[in-house]
């Protein structure tokens, strides 16, 4: 489903990714490990077309990621950044904006599912009335997870999405994504909860290979 073939990426003369190759199949949960600067976020930036590889091929659902196909990639995945910027205004306005995008026009942001997710991720029911600027880092992370799930996509790029959460909430987030067998999840995280979770494959970006 997702393939990197001999991908190189450098920035300002510094090699960030060196001859990276891997393949991820549908339904797999993959955690990219590696120290800071090993190119973990760059993998997502490359897949989303935010960054251009120096060489190599990136394949998403059998298609080479290029300036045409990247727009479809973005409609197929839900991406959550560790420090997601939700802009200004009320949370409800953010929901209206997201559901107002053509790519999400057929989605049903129904209240029942929304309420379920708020309860599960322990967010307050009145969060739609709050200003996004007033949310804590942990609330912002959980809200962006809720939005990502409501998008009803089955491929998730999760970039340090549990970094601001306590152990109990981290576990709930990991459990939620791991339990969904159909979902393909690419995860960047230093959290042992992700790394130790059963059924999760670990790809070492520094070594450029799968951990046994």
């Amino acid at each position: 489903m997702i393939q990197f073939k001999n991908v190189d990426l450098s920035f300002n003369g510094k090699k960030i990714i060196n001859n990276l190759s891997f393949e991820i199949k549908q339904g797999e949960k993959v955690v990219f490990s590696g120290k800071s600067g090993s190119g973990k976020s760059s993998v997502f930036n490359l897949l989303l077309g935010f960054t251009d590889p120096d060489s190599g091929k990136i394949i998403f659902k059998e298609k080479h990621v290029d300036e045409k196909s990247v727009w479809d990639v973005r409609k197929d995945v839900a991406y959550i950044d560790q420090d997601v910027s939700l802009g200004d205004g009320k949370v409800a306005e953010l929901f209206n904006f997201v559901s107002g995008l053509k790519a999400n026009a057929l989605l049903d942001f129904n209240e029942r599912k929304f309420d379920e997710l708020l309860t599960y991720f322990e967010l307050e029911k009145d969060i739609p009335d709050k200003d996004t600027g007033d949310l804590s880092g942990g609330e912002r992370q959980r809200l962006s997870i809720v939005i990502a799930i409501l998008l009803k996509r089955d491929i998730f790029f999760l970039d340090e999405v549990t970094s601001s959460l306590d152990g109990h909430l981290k576990q709930k987030v990991v459990d939620y994504f791991v339990a969904e067998k159909e979902w393909t999840c690419l995860v960047n995280s230093h959290d042992s909860i992700w790394l130790d979770s059963p059924g999760v494959k670990i790809f070492d970006l520094e070594e450029g290979k799968w951990r046994p």
């Binding site: 989303l48 077309g49 935010f50 251009d52 973005r74 997601v84 910027s85 939700l86 053509k102 998008l151």
Partner: protein
């Protein structure tokens, strides 16, 4: 009603007024004196030269010369607008030239053919004078519009990319920034329009009245020019933004960092645009 001409001596007396900013600059340590005299000297020389030039331009009243002069005015306005933005001149100067030209010509032609109307639509008195007023305002609007648009996206890169990742088209992701830029670009013109006549008698009206025309005629021309200014400003700002997009964004919808004059922006360190 005859206009009282100003003698060279009288005009010289006007410059005595500059003693006030000079004293204030000295008292408050503003450091404005050098730029004040430079600007005053530049203005005087430019206006004297342009006065001589316009005298002949009106005398000849040749369509080709008038049009050529209007194009020169457009070029100067475009360079001033682009130079004041944070974006590299080479990236946006051509789209800006087209946006200014389309906005100015479209509105002037509407005024000259439909509103006034005049036999010689390239008459210097209308083409050059109206063009100057429209371009001056388009220039101000575009300085605000271009800078706001590109700086906001640069400062908001994370949010912009997040919106793209949600599946937004390039237009959907850019729309909030386009809206804000147009609003800010038009604000001064709309504010000036709303207070017109009460707070200030605008330049054109003052000129026409001092020139001996009936205030009633001056007011009618002023209403016409204000509506024209708002229209040409919004057309030029919208066209400038839309026409500069291909040069400033990659086909992946990502803002190119090499379009900015200052390369030390946050995104330069973090991302490399396609």
């Amino acid at each position: 009603m005859e206009t009282i001409d100003l003698s060279v001596f009288s005009l010289g007396l006007t410059f005595l007024l500059l003693a006030v900013p000079v004293i204030l600059s000295l008292v408050y340590g503003l450091g404005l004196i050098k730029s004040l005299f430079y600007s005053a000297a530049r203005m005087t020389i430019q206006l004297v030269l342009i006065g001589i030039f316009l005298k002949y331009l009106f005398l000849w009243n040749n369509a080709l010369i008038n049009l050529s002069w209007l194009i020169v005015m457009i070029c100067v306005a475009v360079f001033s607008a682009v130079k004041s933005s944070a974006v590299k001149i080479s990236k946006i100067v051509i789209p800006c030239f087209f946006s200014f030209s389309i906005a100015t010509f479209a509105v002037i032609m509407y005024l000259n053919i439909v509103v006034i109307p005049i036999d010689n639509i390239f008459d210097a008195r209308y083409l050059i004078v109206l063009g100057g007023m429209l371009l001056g305002n388009s220039l101000r609007g575009n300085i605000v519009g271009i800078s706001t648009f590109y700086k906001n996206i640069r400062n908001d890169t994370k949010k912009y990319l997040y919106v793209l990742s949600l599946g937004a088209s390039r237009y959907e992701a850019l729309l909030p920034y386009i809206r804000e830029s147009i609003n800010l670009a038009l604000k001064p013109t709309l504010a000036a329009m709303a207070t017109m006549g009460i707070v200030a008698l605008p330049g054109m009206m003052t000129g026409v009245i001092l020139g001996g025309a009936d205030p009633e005629v001056a007011i009618k021309y002023q209403i016409m020019i204000m509506v024209a200014i708002v229209t040409s400003t919004i057309i030029s700002v919208v066209l400038t933004i839309l026409m500069t997009l291909p040069a400033c964004f990659s086909r992946y919808g990502v803002l190119r960092q090499d379009v900015f004059i200052n390369k030390n922006g946050y995104q330069n360190k973090r991302r490399k645009a396609k």
